[in-house]
């Protein structure tokens, strides 16, 4: 099967406009004849569900949380990028496009990224119109700040709660449509499988998390906006329930999974404190605007930070990357932190931590200014660590944060399964091998508000009429039976270990071998190891309670079961991508100074994996990447 990206021909600047004109429309009176399922109510899903309903489609929206407002988009702190150029510092759509392609280490699809940069400005307009309280200057205009990987200030923010405010904007639009009856919202229901009839995505099967009932919903098209798979590492900055199940089930049904090895490790998280740890907390990258990152110059220097004199500190990012300094992109900052810790210069009780110091910024701007910018982040840090960052430098360390890989989609955001569209972090398209800060919110909202409302019409119009499918259809019944059989199998093992124990085991081998640094030997080892953990899981898992009830252990087991299969695809992708690019750092491929060394001759492509069975090596397909507008170059932030 060849992967057709459906990128419009002609100059990139006109491609989205041209494509919008070329796509079919559905007249307003006919839109109400279609039904669309949206799984996930975060920025991408919430925005899509609301926007599609506003246009007149009938929408059914699903979340496993108790409310649509709880999706993990809410936790994004720092901000959202847009090419408004309000500060008059040289920004433009072209520059945002260029920075994103470069930041992604030339592994993203140019046309998608250009469209993203183009609609970024509409997102800000839209959110302000919804009443999102962005930070403002005294003159009443919007304030901007700078973020990693950019030399302009293009990031809009709402204190340290930008994700929350943007999500509440999308949520409010969604609530309005629920009230108008155009969206049917289903909470505490988890998608367990995808229904495909005559080769098209026509519905989903869910498990009601309160009653345990397995139910199916059918529609004319399905949208997955189900987030990323960062929890494959067990410890990550993701919420506890974030999982790969929806995307993985679609993959098992024929959707290709693209670039699963591109996982972003965020440089500024609170370090691990012990075995009890259930998650890692992110400290917004915006802190790097004013905080300076350092470690002691001497190995094993155990003095408290305030007693280490200036000339014995190594501000290693400022030293290695003078022009970007503490604002170097995430992958570079993360690897540099790992390097200094591996050299034995790390701080914190485990030796895996570096300082993020605000002393100079407080002296320069005053405590009050710092408090205004980062007050809530400092409080959060103090609550978790018990230290006051106004007095003692913060300790930070990288942690799994975001996954650039995801289900393969074409320019219309449709997967390899006709009718199955994938938005936000769940797809792969815009960030290449590394995402820049404040770009996730931008992409989620771009997909939901400004891309899918156009592209889905083209799919629906081209495939009309749709056969009517009800929930008695034999294929629907078959999928339901499969879901039930899977649950029964999990419940019947009656072994000794909990789902969390298996998750922890998987996470440990993934972090060691498919984490910040990867090499051939480690990846080959982990490909042998994962099936062993999986086998043990299916023989020794213990679940208490019943399946006809709210059962948190069963929920977790189902998610871990899918991670245990998915992890293998990730490892295969990391092994076969025999180059370093962005966040995918193969230790064999680096420049003498430790920079990632790309191999454009052999790997300037998207790798999209096709499922062939559990434990069977999936088939790797290629979508070549062409760079017509940005010249392939060695990424340099020096």
């Amino acid at each position: 099967m060849s992967l057709n990206s459906k990128v419009p021909s002609g100059p990139i600047k006109d491609s989205w406009d041209k494509h919008r004109f070329d796509m079919k429309l559905i007249n307003p009176a006919n839109k109400r004849k279609y039904k669309i399922i949206v799984v996930g109510t975060g920025l991408a899903g919430g925005a899509a569900a609301a926007s599609l309903a506003e246009l007149g489609y009938n929408v059914e929206a699903f979340t496993y949380n108790d409310s649509a407002r709880r999706a993990h988009s809410i936790a994004a702190q720092g901000g959202i990028n847009a090419a408004k150029n309000y500060p008059n510092d040289g920004d433009s759509i072209w520059r945002l496009f260029y920075d994103t392609v470069k930041g992604g280490d030339f592994r993203s699809r140019e046309a998608n990224v250009y469209r993203l940069a183009q609609v970024s400005n509409s997102i800000i307009d839209q959110c302000v119109a919804q009443g999102v309280p962005f930070a403002r200057e005294y003159g009443g205009l919007l304030d901007n700040r700078s973020f990693g990987g950019a030399q302009v200030s293009r990031t809009f923010y709402a204190r340290g709660q930008t994700g929350q405010q943007l999500l509440l904007g999308a949520y409010s639009a969604l609530m309005r449509q629920v009230h108008l009856g155009k969206v049917k919202l289903f909470v505490r229901k988890e998608m367990k499988d995808l229904i495909i009839i005559d080769g098209k995505a026509r519905g989903i099967t869910t498990r009601d998390l309160v009653s345990g009932k397995v139910e199916s919903y059918t529609a004319d098209a399905v949208i997955l906006a189900t987030g990323g798979y960062g929890n494959v590492f067990f410890l990550s900055t993701n919420a506890q329930a974030c999982n790969v199940t929806a995307a993985y089930r679609a993959y098992k049904k024929g959707a290709f999974f693209a670039n699963p090895c591109y996982t972003q490790i965020h440089p500024t998280c609170i370090p691990v404190s012990g075995d009890h740890q259930s998650k890692l907390t992110l400290m917004s990258e915006s802190l790097r605007n004013d905080g300076r990152i350092w470690v002691p110059k001497k190995e094993g220097d155990k003095r408290p930070p305030n007693q280490i004199p200036e000339n014995e500190r190594d501000y290693y990012l400022e030293r290695k990357y003078p022009s970007f300094g503490n604002l170097s992109p995430r992958d570079i900052s993360s690897r540099s932190a790992k390097e200094v810790c591996d050299e034995g210069r790390g701080v914190s009780s485990t030796g895996y931590g570096v300082y993020l110091d605000f002393k100079d910024a407080i002296q320069r701007l005053g405590k009050k200014a710092i408090e205004e910018k980062y007050g809530n982040l400092f409080e959060m840090y103090e609550r978790i660590k018990g230290d006051d960052p106004y007095e003692t430098p913060m300790q930070i360390y990288p942690a799994s944060h975001y996954t650039m890989g995801g289900l393969w989609v074409d320019y219309n955001l449709m997967s390899t399964i006709p009718g199955l569209h994938v938005l936000g972090e769940a797809n792969f398209s815009d960030h290449g091998a590394n995402r820049l800060g404040a770009s996730a919110l931008m992409q989620g909202l771009a997909d939901g508000y400004f891309v899918i409302p156009y592209t889905i019409a083209d799919y629906l119009a081209n495939n009309t009429p749709f056969d009517k499918i009800d929930t008695d259809h034999p294929e629907v019944k078959k999928v339901e039976a499969d879901v039930k059989a899977n649950t029964d199998k999990l419940m019947s093992i009656n072994g000794k270990q909990t789902p969390t124990q298996f998750h922890r085991k998987l996470g440990a081998v993934m972090w060691d071998n498919v984490g910040m640094g990867r090499n051939e030997a480690g990846l080959k080892k982990v490909i042998k190891e994962i099936p062993k953990i999986r086998e043990e899981f299916w023989q020794d898992l213990k679940i208490t309670g019943t399946k006809e009830d709210l059962n948190i252990v069963l929920e977790k087991a189902g998610r871990v079961a899918d991670f245990l299969e998915f992890a293998e695809v990730m490892a295969w992708d990391a092994l076969e991508r025999d180059e370093s690019c962005g966040a995918h750092f193969r230790e064999e491929h680096q420049y003498p100074d430790g920079e990632a060394k790309r191999d454009d001759e052999n790997f300037c492509h998207v790798a999209a994996w096709e499922y062939k069975g559990v434990g069977v090596k999936p088939v790797r397909h290629i979508e070549p990447l062409e760079f017509k507008d940005v010249k392939l170059a060695v990424r340099s932030y020096k």
């Binding site: 108790d66 709880r70 009443g131 930070a135 009443g140 949520y171 609530m175 018990g386 009830d549």
Partner: protein
Amino acid sequence: MKITLHIWRQKNSQERGFMEKHFLDDVSEDMSFLEMLDILNERLIKEGKEAIAFDHDCREGICGACSLTINGTPHGPERATTTCQLHMRKFKDGDTIYVEPFRSKVFKVIKDLVVDRDSLDKIMQAGGYVGISTGNPQDANALPIAKKKADLAMDSAACIGCGACVAACPNGAAMLFVSAKINQYAQLPQGQPENKRRVLKMVRAMDDHGFGACTNMYECEAACPKSISVRFISRMNVNFWKAVLLEE
């Protein structure tokens, strides 16, 4: 640390609940409160017992899912802190802790410590939005907003919708939650066209769902993990009466 726990167990919304006693002797002070419950749950599963159900997700104090009443206080003893951000260093070795679901007639217990807060979404559906659709509104900077107003809007927009204010209120009122949303829009020019309509609809939805009335006890502000101020309730009342008197 050694900790004795009394935890509310309830099979479902129909059956009666009861307190169940547990003892943990290996609690680290760096653990979060929910990590302590994780450890207890791991032990229960291994003993073949049913794990204690509780709502939680982001574990960084922003999603609003976690919802325990700890020693009688929603989200526990630490001010301006969600349960997931409460750490065991706030307790002492040998402490006894009582853990219950959020207490409110409106929030029905679904199981153990999990409650149904759907009514909060219902209030939002009644009017918690600016009634515009996705499209091409004016340029974001075409609408200057004084920093003070924007900041005040943000102060109340910080609400995470956890429902602690309801659980803390002796009357089971949702006034702090509703006023937070009303005030956000009332401060902003975008919210003006629907200001009256919004306050009437949301307050009526609040009454319809069985939430109580405010008698100025201020328990809500004390329990609020985001320190939303009760001043917003008086602002909402002003808005509400203006709307009632001027309703066409």
